[in-house]
Amino acid sequence: MRDLWEAFTGFLRTFGALQLFLLRLIVESPRVLMRPRLVTQQIFNAGALSLVLIMVCGFFVGAVIGLQGHSNLARFGSEDILGLFSALSLMKELGPVITALLFAGRAGTALASEIGLMRTTDQLSAMEMMAIDPVIRVATPRFLGGAISMPLLTAIFTSVGILGSWVVGVPLLGVDAGAFWSQMQAGVGTADVWEGILKSIVFGLAASLIAVWEGYNAIPTAEGVGRATTRTVVITAVVILVFDFMITAMAISLG
C-alpha cells in the first residue's frame, strides 16, 4: 500500500516534470527556429534515418492491405472499392500509427541514446559551463526536428502504402484501375484527411518529447543510456496506441 502510494506520487512528480520540460521546449522553440539550420539538420537526421525504412514498410503494409482487402471485399463482390478501403485504413490508422512506431524504433532510440551519451560524457555540463543552455542547443532542435519530420514521414508512408495496395490490387489481382482511383477520390473526405494529419502531428510531438526526455534524464552510465533507449520505444508505443484510440473516438463522436 505504501509502495503503491509512493509509486503513484513518484509518477505524478515525473509527469509534472515532463510537463515543465515540454513547456520549456515550447517556450524556447521560437528562439531556436530563428536559427533554422539547427532544426533542418535535425529534420534531416530524423528523416534520413527513417526514410528508407518508412518507404519499405509502407509498401508492404499497403500491399498486404491490398491482398486482405481484395480477398475480403471479393466475398461481397465489391473489389471496386479496394482503393477507397486502402486509402482510408492507411490514412486514418495504419499510416500515422505504424510510422510513429517505426519512428520511435529508429529515430527515437537514436535521439535518446545520443542525448543520453552527451549527458554521460559531460557534454551537456560542458555546454552549461560555456553558458550555452543544452535545453536550447540540444533538446529543442531535436524535439522540433522530430515533431516536424513525423507528419512528412507519415505522408510518405501513406502514399507509398497506397501505391503498394495498387500494385497488388490492380496489375496482380485485376481490380479495375479506373474504379480503384475514382472510388478513392469520391470516398475520402476532408475530415478523413484531417484526422490522419492530426494524428501524425500529435504522435510526432509525443514520440519526440519522450525520446528527448528519456535521453536528457538518462542515468549517466552505459546501462542508464541503454535503459533510456528501451524505455523510449516502450513508452512511445503505449502512448501512441492510447492517443490513437482517444483521437479516433473523438473524431467519430464529432463526425
Binding site: T121, D122, Q123, S125, A126, M127, M129, A131, I132, D133
Partner: protein
C-alpha cells in the same frame, strides 16, 4: 566582501545522499593568482568546482564568485557569470559530433557574431598554443586522452574568460606536453591578468605553478598556504599527502567494511556500511 577575492566560500555543506562531502568548508581564492586545490581522490574536488560554477547547489553555506552570491542568481544571471569562466573538465567533455576545430569554435559561434576569418584566427591560435593545430580536422573520437584534454583546454580559453578552472589538467600528459601546459597555465594567468583554479593530485607540478594551495580532506580545508609553506608544514596529514605516503591520517581506502571478514565472506560485510 573582499575585492581581492574572486571566489569566496563560507561554511559550505554538501552531501551526496547521506554521505557528507563537505562539512563546513571555508575557502577564498585570490584574484590574479593561480590557486591549487589538492586532495586525495574522491574528496570532492570536482564536486567543489561544480558548486563554484553553480552546477550543483550547496545544502548550506554560501558561495560568491566575482562579487555575486550564487544563491541569489537566476538562470540568466548564472549564465552571464559563466561566460566569464572557462572550465576544463576532468574528462575533456568535447562535443563528439564536432571536429576539433568546431569544438574550439563552438563557444565563439554560440555567443558572438564574428566573421569567419576572425573565428579561424582565434581557433588556430588557441590550438597552436596547446600544440594541436595539426589536429584541427580530426574528430574527438580519433584523439588520445591527453590530446582530448589539450583540445578541451583550447576550448576553455577560446572566449578569453576572466577565470580559468582546470580539473586535473596534467593527467595523461607526457613530460613534454606537461611542461608546455604547466607554463601555459602560468603564462595565461599572468599575461591576461586572469585568475586560475587548478585541481590536481600532482604535487610536484602544482608546486611549480601555484601561488597558493589548499589541501582538502574529509570535507574541510586541511591546510593552506604557498607551496613552500605546505611542503614544510608540521601537520602529519599534509606531510603524508605532499610526500605520498600510504599510511597516515588520510585513509587510502574509501570507507569499507572490515577487510578480513569480507574476504572470509560471512556475508556481514556485504551489507551497506
Amino acid at each position: 566582501m573582499n575585492a581581492d577575492h574572486i571566489v569566496e566560500i563560507e561554511d559550505l555543506h554538501y552531501a551526496r545522499g547521506t554521505r557528507p562531502i563537505f562539512s563546513g568548508l571555508n575557502l577564498n581564492i585570490r584574484r590574479g593568482e593561480v590557486t591549487a586545490i589538492m586532495g586525495p581522490s574522491g574528496t570532492g574536488k570536482t564536486t567543489l568546482l561544480r558548486l563554484i560554477t553553480g552546477q550543483l547547489v550547496p545544502d548550506r553555506g554560501r558561495i560568491r564568485v566575482d562579487g555575486e552570491w550564487l544563491a541569489g542568481l537566476r538562470r540568466d544571471g548564472l549564465y552571464a557569470l559563466r561566460r566569464k569562466i572557462g572550465m576544463l573538465f576532468q574528462n575533456g567533455a568535447l562535443l563528439t559530433d564536432l571536429s576539433v576545430y568546431e569544438n574550439v569554435a563552438f563557444p565563439l559561434r554560440e555567443h558572438y557574431e564574428l566573421p569567419e576569418r576572425l573565428i579561424r584566427h582565434i581557433v588556430l591560435t588557441k590550438l597552436h598554443a596547446v600544440g594541436l593545430r595539426g589536429a584541427a580536422e580530426m574528430l574527438p573520437t580519433e584523439l588520445s586522452g591527453g590530446m582530448a584534454r589539450r583540445v578541451a583546454l583550447a576550448r576553455a580559453m577560446a572566449t578569453d574568460p576572466r577565470i580559468l578552472i582546470y580539473d586535473e589538467p596534467f593527467v595523461g600528459l607526457d613530460p613534454i606536453s606537461m611542461g608546455v601546459i604547466v607554463r601555459l597555465v602560468r603564462r595565461m594567468n599572468d599575461a591576461l591578468g586572469i585568475s586560475s583554479i587548478v585541481v590536481s593530485h600532482d604535487v610536484q607540478e602544482i608546486n611549480t605553478v601555484a601561488d597558493s594551495s589548499y589541501l582538502i580532506s574529509e570535507g574541510k580545508v586541511a591546510a593552506s598556504g604557498s607551496p613552500d609553506e605546505l611542503s614544510n608544514a608540521p601537520s602529519e596529514l599534509v606531510r603524508q599527502f605532499m610526500h605520498g605516503m600510504a599510511d597516515g591520517p588520510v585513509p587510502f581506502h574509501f570507507p569499507a567494511p572490515d577487510y578480513t571478514s569480507q574476504l572470509i565472506g560471512n556475508g556481514e560485510g556485504d551489507d551497506d556500511a
